[in-house]
Symmetry: C2
Subunit: 204 residues, 2 copies
């Protein structure tokens, strides 16, 4: 098991480094974030950085890079305060991944893929139809990560839609049944088939 050092990383070919560092921290969440500008342009983009921040209040975070892609997501969130987070499930991984292509703001990824908008409960951003878990989010705050000029977007959950059979008696959402994907690196999508749950742990 050879050691790769920081100076090795700094000297790598750019794409090699991106693949390596994107896959080194383990599996990532696989979500489509959808937004709508005040003038009605919709956007949907794959994100692998959506992270649980806390349950009370219910907060989720994700990382965006405002100066580059996916700028549309960031701009729309700043305009309207609303966005949706939608689980990428096994049937849409290829379509979802295509949203990483760099389309101009005037072109909606919904019109370039088989992904469909779903509006409900008067929410100002569309959901992605058919996703087993759909979350309506309200922007709360942003934190500039000065080390690389990325931004942590913090939002609170306003609406949560979960396919019935996925929700267990204790609140656990069964992602195996949902056939939700998980992302390896930049472009690897896996659908886990089985999990083990462990009980609450106490010192022994």
């Amino acid at each position: 098991m050879p050691q790769i050092t920081r100076s090795d990383i700094d000297q790598m070919d750019k794409l090699y480094r991106i693949n390596l560092i994107n896959s080194c921290a383990g599996y990532k969440s696989a979500n489509l974030i959808s937004t709508q500008s005040v003038d009605g342009l919709t956007n949907v983009a794959v994100f692998s950085s959506v992270t649980h921040l806390g349950s009370n209040p219910p907060l989720l975070g994700f990382i965006t890079r405002p100066a580059v892609v996916p700028r549309n997501t960031y701009e729309n969130i700043k305009e309207t305060g609303k966005y949706t987070i939608n689980h990428i499930h096994h049937k849409i991984t290829k379509e979802a991944h295509h949203t990483s292509a760099k389309y101009p703001k005037e072109i909606s990824e919904f019109d370039k893929t088989n992904l469909e908008r779903e509006y409900k409960d008067n929410f100002a951003a569309p959901y992605v139809k058919g996703c087993p878990v759909q979350i309506g989010m309200q922007f709360v705050s942003e934190y500039l990560i000065r080390e690389n000029d990325t931004i942590l977007i913090v939002g609170q959950i306003e609406h949560l839609y979960i396919h019935d059979e996925l929700l267990e008696n204790d609140g656990f959402i069964n992602l195996i049944k949902a056939e939700t994907a998980t992302i390896n690196g930049l472009d690897g999508y896996a659908i886990p088939k089985k999990h083990n749950r462990y009980s609450y742990q106490r010192p022994k």
Copy 2:
């Protein structure tokens, strides 16, 4: 697919809410973070919030809650600046999950589980022996998330060890071969068996 609203969430039983919100954002990374205090006490704890922040410089983040468990991890990082991130693989999910038990600082989780310390290249924190990917991290900065008093810890990669057969020609680390776990909610561990990789996407 009934709607769960924010007020429903706020009124839930605490454990139900924790299970629900922890599983709603999809799969999470499964890592053991290990640290050592200046007086030599070692700590190892499971974290599901390790997230890729950027590749150049190579930065990873994770969320901690300093006022409660796992305080030892945070304190040791602030003391020494060093920590290690180690992939939880299929053989150690149960042992890894046990590190979520609340041990006092004087008791090392390494002494209460079958997890073993591994010291190498004079790094000031131990790695977890046998993990397919091990990362030596230098603390860079922290951001207080005021909305719930959690902290985003930002660190840079100093050392990276990857089992030989996992590293592909383009820098992609094959987590299927690594048998790295992914976490569903608080306590569900899955080992994905197969993935599809998609190519770089351009507008069509």
